[in-house]
Amino acid sequence: MFREIFVTQWKWTRTVVLIASVIAFALPLTALQAAHSAQNAETFVWQMERWGPSYSVLAAAVGLLVALAAWANDHRGRHVYALALPVSRARYVMMRLGAGAAFVIVPILALLMGSVLVAWFGGIPTGLNVYPVALTVRFALAALVAYAIFFAVSAATPKTAGVVLGAIAALLLVQYGLSVANVRYDVLSRVADFLFSSPGLLSVFAGRWMLIDV
């Protein structure tokens, strides 16, 4: 059964995966091309750092699109086919999750290939180091976290989505109320710290993404 789910899900996801793979392969090479105009090592590192957010954005986009592709057809068919299958519902979800996770690996491998090419042929300035494996592992974790988040949201009911959106709206309202009451307490910063600092949900996206560093 997993094979059938894998094959059909690949048909829905392959375009997204292939486009993401091309971008992931090209990203390190493009960053290197931009940094080659640097006059010294410090400027080179700064140029590479400017491309850092691109990796986290790509990882988030890969996770989002693969997760949406995993559930799009089921949503359209109102899950009738899924509910008619002779497997437990939890097992069905796990198979969908596993298939999507396997597809996320393709752009990860593409990024690794691009990074290794930079390491071998890049002409890195003296004194700097290349970290292709560390960057790829981080990209993999970020893409899988993003995939898991959006997969869970897509697998949930509209009521759950409403609860999540309502919680976000309530946070904004509380912050607004506090500022009107002249209370110096930054709720949004606290929430952002909780999410983005280790071991927060989005901590893998925060910080520097450096293929080449000192």
């Binding site: 003296t126 004194g127 560390a134 974790l141 976290v145 560093d213």
Partner: protein
């Protein structure tokens, strides 16, 4: 107050210039008036110094060997804890060199909030003021009211006095910085990046292993002409290119000839710009790292030997108790070989990410749609 006195004297002197054109009686009256003002300014300055000394005498004294700490009666228990925490560190780092700070005192007091500051309720900041026994304020530092933080501050400022205030030559060479206890791998790596990015050719020769070039780049021996000692023709051209806006303002034709390859014009421009010291071969941190290496090699009493007379080359060798080339080789080796795994992927990030992936996967299977 001293600046006011100096300013008053300058103003008075400028007022006196047109007196040359006036007759002798008017001139005499002017000179008398200036003398009265100068005596008044001098009296103000002495009163200020007396106030500072009077203030010092009113405070309670705590001693930790040669380190003298003054504080108000109410703060004495807190200051005592600070001094006890700091003294071991000071003995270990400075040892016998502490005798050199006998004419300095360290005043610990509560910071009085300025009208524009908005502290949190219950916040108290403390100030450590470094003063000489003559009443001159050397430095002030402010930090939270915590024994650990204030002890760190006290240790730092005792060392600052040793490195910068008791020895102006060493202080200038160190850029008024304190030599750290240790240099992290990341700092060595950042230093390496700065060296390979520097404009002067001597930096690259140093990185490639020329120990004498490192000695020049670290300015261990005074007196050499930076334009000739730090640069070769190619790096002089690069230096002028970096400063091209200013170079063109001074001499556009000369800048163009320099760019075309005329080293004479490059030298002339750099001499005029006097900017070669603005493109140093190494950041100041390189020197403090070298001093740290020398102190570590020298062990006990190294700081005292570093403060002895001589050029920096002689002092560092004496402090380390090995030839200067050996100190430089250790420093160079650290610069070249320090490395660490990527800072962007830590165990925490990996563990947190894997945890969230499993948690979210579990949540997906528990959705009410699927139960």
């Amino acid at each position: 107050m001293y600046n006011r006195v100096a300013g008053a004297l300058v103003v008075l002197t400028c007022l006196g210039i047109p007196a040359a054109a006036q007759d002798a009686a008017v001139l005499e009256r002017r000179l008398d008036a200036q003398a009265v003002e100068a005596r008044r300014a001098q009296a103000h300055f002495e009163a200020y110094q007396d106030t500072a000394r009077h203030l010092l005498r009113r405070l309670d004294t705590l001693r930790a060997g040669k380190v003298v700490v003054l504080t108000e009666q109410a703060l004495k228990p807190f200051a005592d804890s600070v001094v006890r925490t700091a003294v071991d560190s000071l003995q270990r780092v400075a040892g016998t060199a502490l005798a050199r700070i006998e004419d300095h005192v360290f005043v610990i007091r509560v910071h009085v909030w300025n009208p524009w500051e908005r502290p949190e309720p219950g916040d108290t900041d403390m100030v450590i003021t470094v003063m000489t026994t003559a009443g001159r304020t050397v430095r002030e530092w402010r930090g939270k009211k915590s024994v650990a933080m204030q002890a760190d501050g006290l240790v730092h400022h005792v060392l600052y006095v040793l490195y910068s205030d008791t020895d102006s030559y060493l202080g200038a060479w160190l850029g008024r910085n304190v030599v750290p206890d240790t240099v992290t791998r990341l700092q060595w790596m950042e230093l390496r990046k700065a060296i390979v990015s520097a404009i002067p050719a001597v930096s690259r020769r140093c990185y490639d292993g020329d120990i004498r070039a490192c000695a020049i780049a670290l300015e261990l021996t005074p007196g050499s002409d930076p334009i000739m000692a730090w640069h070769d023709p190619a790096s002089r051209r690069r230096a002028v290119a970096v400063l091209k806006q200013r170079a063109r303002r001074h001499d556009e034709a000369g800048a163009a000839r320099c760019d075309a390859g005329s080293d004479t014009d490059c030298v002339t421009l750099l001499l005029r710009l006097m900017e070669s010291t603005a493109l140093p071969p190494l950041p100041t941190f390189g020197r403090t790292a070298l001093a740290m290496v020398a102190l570590k090699l020298g062990g006990e009493g190294a700081l005292d030997r570093l403060l002895s007379p001589g050029t920096m080359e002689q002092r560092l060798a004496t402090a380390a108790r090995v030839p200067i080339d050996s100190v430089l080789r250790v420093w160079h080796n650290q610069v070249r070989t320090s490395s660490m795994p990527s800072r962007d992927l830590t165990g925490d990030i990996v563990a947190a990410s894997l945890l969230w992936i499993f948690v979210l996967g579990f949540i997906s299977t528990r959705s009410s749609r699927w139960r």
